[in-house]
Amino acid sequence: MSRFRLGPWLIALPMLLLALATIYPLLFTTNVAMKTRRDYVLDRFALADGLRWENLRTAWTSVGMGRYFVNSLLVVTASVLLLLLLGSMAGFALSRLRFRGSTAIYLACLAGLFVPFQVIMVPLARVMADTALVDTYPGLVLVYVAQFLPFTVFLLTSYYRTIPQEVIDAARIDGNSAYGVYRRIMIPLGTPALLSVGILNALFCWNDVLMALVMMPSAEHRTLMVGVTSLRGQYSDDIPTFASGVLIAALPVLVVYLFLQRQIADGVAAGSTKG
């Protein structure tokens, strides 16, 4: 930067302000969640006079965010595990085994990448209704898997291509079948990629609202994000409870982000450079 000086601080200051603008909304929400309704009406910006958990407890129990939380956790866990299993199997086959039709299958996966849910929402809802999978957890898991599988296969295929052929050859000479190579080489050596793709998929599924809204219409099956949308009408005059519900939905993502920021950003970057 030494020669491009243009006054680095002239740039740094707006960037610092932008950084504040990036995190302030969530800080504000957290602060509001700690206030009483009266405090909020009197002064929106003043710091809460201490940590108050009542609002969070209300949101968790009587608003039902706790149940929605468990619903989301179940669906996301099942979806991610299934995505990683199927994605790694397909990625291994596409990157390391030769078979008739592999190019066509790879292209079909790529094509799947460019079909957003909005475009196939109507027929998919109909298929789910016809197979009695609508409004069931397996149905939503299946929809998530179908939505994010092309991306998962794509990333894992390109990662598996970077594993040295010698390692695989050695495993073959030791008498491993294709399944043996998958289990003893691809899975252990592919762990960093599995972790990265797994976190991204978990975020995608956790954050989704449209698919859950269409595929899970009944109230007791709501995922957490659908639960957040229902806060608006019910708690629009009880802002601290509203903010608490939002905070409960944001907290897991915040924690994951604080610990795994690098993997998430690297996953996004990998998706772009491989493309």
């Binding site: 680095p8 995190i23 008739r100 027929p123 298929v127 296969v153 993502v253």
Partner: protein
């Protein structure tokens, strides 16, 4: 990738080398299991992608030429498309897509410039990537709910502006303002994503070029124009397309929570229109027609990208 006439995976032979080491072939059953292995591994993925991605696409296009309600299942030709074009809400949705296209350069330039500054080590550069990227991992629903709070007519932002002597604006209730508010929030929430992609692109840039420019005393705008933009052509195009696709397919949560398409339908986008027609109005065939239009828009964006890539490839 060559496609053999038969699966080339034979027992005990490394898949890619082709040269057979001196090993006795295994009994027939194991050999067959080995030959079938790739198909077993790939089958679930193929079934899921074909049945739940590609087939519904065809089904949906087909569906868009049938009727709703009384005319359920009957072929109606282009009636749904005609109705779409006549529907003011859908026309607004298309108009808003035009607005998004017009705003696209801004939505790409902001993260591009910020990434440039971070790459050139502006003071505090270590901090920014992590902070800017954070909203990108939050669900649009959460972002929308937070901004509902901040932008309410009697909410904190207007209170703050009032304190500065600026009159309150009805950020989400004024039909002339609301779409800009929603797009602004979308950009706020997603610019970190593009920033990370840009930074990954910068990692491939040859530092020697920048050093040379530094020695020559080139100004920042010149460095951007003559080194960074040409060096990052592919990245810039990738960000253009992904940002556009993001605007077309990941704003539902924001619209649903912040405006529900209003006020006066001014914040409709195709994806919201599809959802309303399918879920609320019980017009699945009409929704399918809107889906097909959205898909065509996305295809055009994708093909324009391919064109651009080929043209820049010739220029290189």
């Amino acid at each position: 990738m060559p496609v053999g006439s038969a699966p080339s995976v034979r027992p005990g032979i490394p898949a890619r080398t082709g040269e057979s080491p001196n090993r006795r072939p295994r009994p027939g059953r194991a050999a067959r299991a080995e030959r079938l292995a790739p198909y077993v591994l790939i089958a679930p993925t193929v079934v899921i992608i074909v049945l739940l991605r590609l087939y519904p696409l065809l089904l949906g296009v087909n569906f868009s030429f049938t009727g709703d309600g009384d005319r359920d299942g009957a072929a109606v030709g282009f009636d749904n498309y005609r109705e779409l074009l006549g529907d003011p809400l859908f026309r607004t949705a298309l108009g808003n897509v035009g607005l998004l296209v017009a705003l696209l350069p801004v939505a790409v330039a902001i993260p591009g410039l910020l990434a440039t500054f971070i790459y050139l080590r502006v003071p505090g550069h270590r901090l920014y990537r992590g902070v800017y990227f954070f909203p990108a991992v939050l669900s649009p629903v959460i972002v929308g709910a937070i901004f509902n709070l901040l932008l309410a007519f009697d909410g904190p932002l207007n209170a703050l502006l009032g304190g500065l002597g600026v009159g309150p604006a009805d950020w989400l209730g004024d039909p002339d303002i609301a779409i800009f508010t929603v797009v602004g929030v979308h950009v706020w929430a997603t610019f970190g994503m593009a920033l990370v992609v840009f930074l990954a692109g910068f990692a491939t840039l040859d530092p020697a070029l920048l050093d040379a420019a530094r020695v020559d005393g080139a100004s920042l705008p010149r460095v951007i124009r003559h080194i960074i933009v040409p060096g990052l052509t592919r990245t810039i195009q990738f960000v253009f397309v992904t940002t556009m696709i993001g605007m077309l397919t990941s704003m539902f949560g924001l619209l649903f929570v912040m405006t529900s398409g209003g006020p006066e339908g001014s914040t409709y986008l195709p994806e919201y229109y599809i959802w309303i027609q399918q879920g609320q109005m019980n017009r699945p065939a009409l929704a399918s027609a809107a889906s097909t239009v959205l898909f065509v828009i996305m295809l055009v964006v994708g093909l324009a990208q391919v064109q651009l890539l080929q043209r820049s490839g010739r220029e290189d």
